[in-house]
């Protein structure tokens, strides 16, 4: 029987829910399991309600499941909110007396933690109990704890081991229907949050400067990058605001360092003028927008895909830019590195759209990420320029791409202006120069378009095609599997490369389809609108979710079934 178990650990912010989740995830990987976990929390540091939901399977899983097999309630609210999600025969471990809740077993987490010597270890008690129910040998738990707490004092580790033991013992008499046989095998790949994949991708794009202003759910990207700054030639600077962040990035890029910033919609709004500055000065920059529901502050710790049109259109006037949105950590790694390379090659800004669900979820990355052997730079020096003294930063070329020299690196003087300018970078208001510069920048479009990869298909020969972009990839593929099992010839197309829009490939992939359903986390099917705008093709319907929570595959399946 295939293994596919979901465990939900709920409680207040500050109770160490994520720690329980991480311990479980690491332990299950020791049994060769694929692990996927979502992190649901409120915009507060203490109290409220949050949960960590972990899915454990013997086959790759890339989306959360709606069916919970084991609910761990560190507070009473968790039972009230989530008991209904429990599958038949599922188990609830709860702090308080079980009362009348079906399937509930009391485990006095806090009391047992006190017995172990520190009430703060109640989350470790819970982790121990979960692993015992899953049938894990205690040795694995012990090893994981040593890895997690090994850096701290021996006393802390001892107390956690004791807490885990008490958790194990507390459920010794209980049976759990989905316990599995723990054969220790080498874990596949690594566990990774989406945000870390973006940070690693930045390094693979040879990012040297990161500037940012803290904003959920983007902060994780820069925290990861900052943690790697000791090993790589990277500086991460916390700016005074998002406007400073984008201008720092532009200054760094102008001087020759590849640079990025990460933010969410509100911060991206503040960066919009800077985006235009990068465009008119033809300075390559990368901006990651980790989307959350808006407008304004919206839902700071929740997820959305409603900034696609914003990313494509942000700023006054018109100019070329790249927009990407990865669907898996592997794609995030590759796409972020590509964003750096393409941004520099074409001297245009590149935007990477991720979201809270993607950034804060844990995924199993099965195959090793590979560092590029070399980084191709698109920069010239005096030796490449016929007459450095006569260098003009915005010299006309058929491609619209002018040879880019760096300031203070030779005789060539680099002059750029946010005003419209002549080829030498000095301000000009003449009609001729204006048209010349606009045409030069716009001339980059065709070659940029040729760089774009078509959407990736999955059973794309199916009559009924589910079309999405970014982080919904896993949920959509699983929905396709379920629909096919139910007899529907379903398939999917998934976009990572969004702008310039890959018009011709999309048209050929979509034009003979009987049914096209958009699956997006916004209210207007923004990608669907874009497809219509660029190809003239209409979608048949859309499954849209905008409550700030990620899609469960079942929601897509039921949405499609209703429309068929």
């Amino acid at each position: 029987m295939p293994i596919d178990i979901s465990i939900k650990i709920g409680g207040e912010a500050g109770q160490g829910i994520q720690t329980v989740g991480h311990l479980l995830a690491l332990a299950c990987r020791q049994a060769g399991m694929y692990v996927m976990a979502v992190n649901d929390f409120e915009s507060r540091i203490r109290g409220g309600h949050s949960f960590f939901q972990i899915r454990i399977s013997d086959r790759p899983v890339q989306a959360p499941d709606h069916r919970i097999h084991l609910l761990v309630a560190l507070d009473e609210k968790t039972v009230q909110i989530h008991a209904a999600e429990l599958v038949s025969g599922g188990t609830i471990l709860m702090e308080q007396k079980a009362g009348s809740v079906q399937g509930a077993a009391p485990v006095p987490f806090v009391e047992l933690a006190g017995e172990a010597g520190a009430r703060i270890t109640s989350n470790t008690v819970a982790a121990g109990a979960c692993l015992a129910l899953l049938g894990a040998p205690f040795a694995i738990m012990k090893r994981i704890l040593a890895g997690q707490f090994g850096g701290k004092s021996g006393e802390i580790l001892e107390k956690n081991i004791k807490a885990a033991e008490l958790g194990f013992a507390a459920v010794r008499e209980m049976a759990f229907k989905w316990a599995f046989n723990w054969k220790e095998i080498r874990p596949r790949g690594v566990l990774m949050e989406g945000s870390k994949a973006v940070a690693l991708g930045a390094l693979a794009g040879d990012c040297r400067v990161g500037a940012f202003y803290p904003m959920s759910p983007a902060t994780g990207i820069m925290t990861h990058l900052a943690s790697l700054a000791g090993d790589c030639p990277v500086v991460v600077e916390q700016a005074e605001d998002e406007i400073a962040a984008v201008n720092i990035v532009i200054g760094a890029a102008f001087a020759g360092a590849r640079a990025m910033t990460a933010t969410s919609g509100g911060g991206f709004a503040l960066m919009t003028e800077g985006l235009g500055l990068a465009a008119i000065t033809e300075t390559p920059i990368v901006i990651v927008n980790a989307q959350r529901p808006g407008p304004a502050t919206g839902l700071p710790t929740r997820t959305a895909q409603a900034d696609l049109h914003f990313a494509i259109r942000a700023s006054q006037d018109e100019f070329p830019r790249f927009v990407f949105s990865p669907g898996t950590p592997e794609e995030a790694y590759a796409v972020t590195a590509r964003a750096f390379n393409l941004s520099e090659k074409y001297q245009v800004p590149a935007i990477v759209l991720v979201d809270q669900y993607f950034n804060d979820s844990l995924f199993t990355v099965e195959h090793d990420l590979a560092a590029p052997r070399e980084i191709e730079r698109f920069i010239v020096g005096d030796k490449d320029i016929k007459d450095p003294a006569a260098y003009r930063r915005f010299a006309a070329t058929p491609s619209g791409i002018s040879p880019r020299a760096l300031p203070c690196m030779g005789k060539a003087l680099v002059v750029v202006s946010s005003d419209e300018h002549r080829e030498d970078g000095h301000i000009s208001e003449t009609s001729t120069d204006r048209i010349h510069m606009v045409d030069k920048r716009q001339a980059k479009w065709p070659a940029m378009m040729a760089e774009m990869q078509p959407p990736r298909g999955y059973h794309e020969d199916g009559d009924c095609l589910l079309v999405g972009w970014g982080s919904t990839r896993g949920a959509i593929r699983e929905a396709v599997d379920q629909l096919r099992e139910g007899g529907l010839a379903a398939g999917s197309l998934h976009f990572t490369d969004l702008w310039p829009f890959p018009d011709s490939s999309v048209k050929s992939l979509l034009q003979k389809k009987k049914k096209i359903f958009m699956v997006e986390q916004n209210t207007t099917a923004q990608l669907g609108q874009l497809i219509r705008q660029q190809t003239g093709l209409n979608f048949s319907g859309a499954i849209l979710k905008y409550d700030g929570r990620p899609f469960y595959p079942i929601e897509i399946v039921e949405g499609i079934q209703k429309k068929m």
Partner: protein
């Protein structure tokens, strides 16, 4: 030996005849020549406004960016290549209005740039509205009842934030200003030079004559530049007597000197290392 001619730009100057900016431009050229710097060794970064057009009229590397954001651009440029000599030309509206937040934080960082603020108390490029440094009571078309807010005191703010080099120059005394700019550029760390700049088109109060009657050389008067309290006192002197010169100077750790990644040289001089990245990528969770 660099000549002043090397800095002559053939781009047509766009300032009003008699503008205080001409005196500042002359002082900049003299200072750069005095420091023995060639145009290709210098990067001038500016925002938006009449002052921010300065690098177009000077032959040098130039980043003429957005209104208020020059110091942020300078921060990034420094991170990428901290061996560059960076001057920032800004105005009172650009630096103390739109860019006020960046002004404070550039001081906090102790960025090794020299900031020249052409302070004429008005928005020149948009035709004469009062700027943050306008004195209360100044009447303009936008402020027909006179300015009601207090005048922003950049020197007092800079001194109180701990800026390492705080000075005031006068556009009507280029020689003195040139020496200030040289001292500012020699200082390692952030240097603010606020420059009293007459606006011949829109400021009929703070004219060349008005300033000439009032300015005096603070340093010739025995001011101690290492005395924080004396600097604060001097920064608050305004009216019949207006001090110019170096108000405060003190050595502090420089922004880019404190970053581990820059110890091996500028970021742009360090090469990509695939083995090092592969080690990071291959680390277990």
């Amino acid at each position: 030996m660099v000549s002043k001619k090397a800095y002559e730009s053939d781009y047509e100057n766009q300032w009003c005849p008699g503008c205080g900016n001409f005196g500042i431009l002359t002082a900049m050229k003299d200072a750069l020549v005095g420091l023995g710097l060639a145009p290709e060794e210098v990067l001038v970064i500016s925002g938006i406004g009449q002052a921010a057009k300065t690098p177009h009229f000077l032959k040098c590397n130039t980043f003429h960016g957005l209104h208020g954001r020059a110091l942020a651009v300078a921060t990034g440029a420094m991170l990428a290549n901290h061996r560059m000599k960076i001057l920032v030309n800004s105005g009172d509206g650009d630096c103390y209005g739109e860019g006020g937040n960046h002004f404070m934080h550039a001081i906090r960082r102790n960025l090794d740039v020299t900031l020249l603020v052409h302070n004429n108390k008005v928005y020149g490029l948009t035709k004469g509205q009062a700027s943050p440094t306008a004195d209360p009571g100044m009447v303009t078309r936008m402020q027909p009842q006179g300015v009601t807010s207090e005048s922003f005191n950049p020197l007092a703010v800079a001194v109180s934030l701990g800026a390492g080099f705080v000075a005031r120059g006068f556009a009507g005394n280029s020689d003195h200003l040139s020496k200030l700019i040289q001292a500012g550029m020699r200082h390692s760390g952030f240097s603010l030079i606020d420059i009293l700049q007459p606006c011949v088109s829109f400021n009929t109060v703070n004219t060349y004559d008005w300033y000439k009657k009032r300015v005096y050389d603070l340093n010739a008067a025995g001011h101690r530049t290492d005395d924080f309290s004396a600097a604060i006192t001097a920064s608050r002197e305004w009216g019949d007597k207006i001090p110019i010169g170096i108000f405060h100077q003190t050595e502090k750790p420089v922004f880019t000197d404190q970053m581990a990644a820059l110890r091996n040289g500028p970021l742009i001089a360090q090469s990509y290392n695939p083995e090092r990245l592969q080690d990071i990528l291959s680390k277990d969770d």
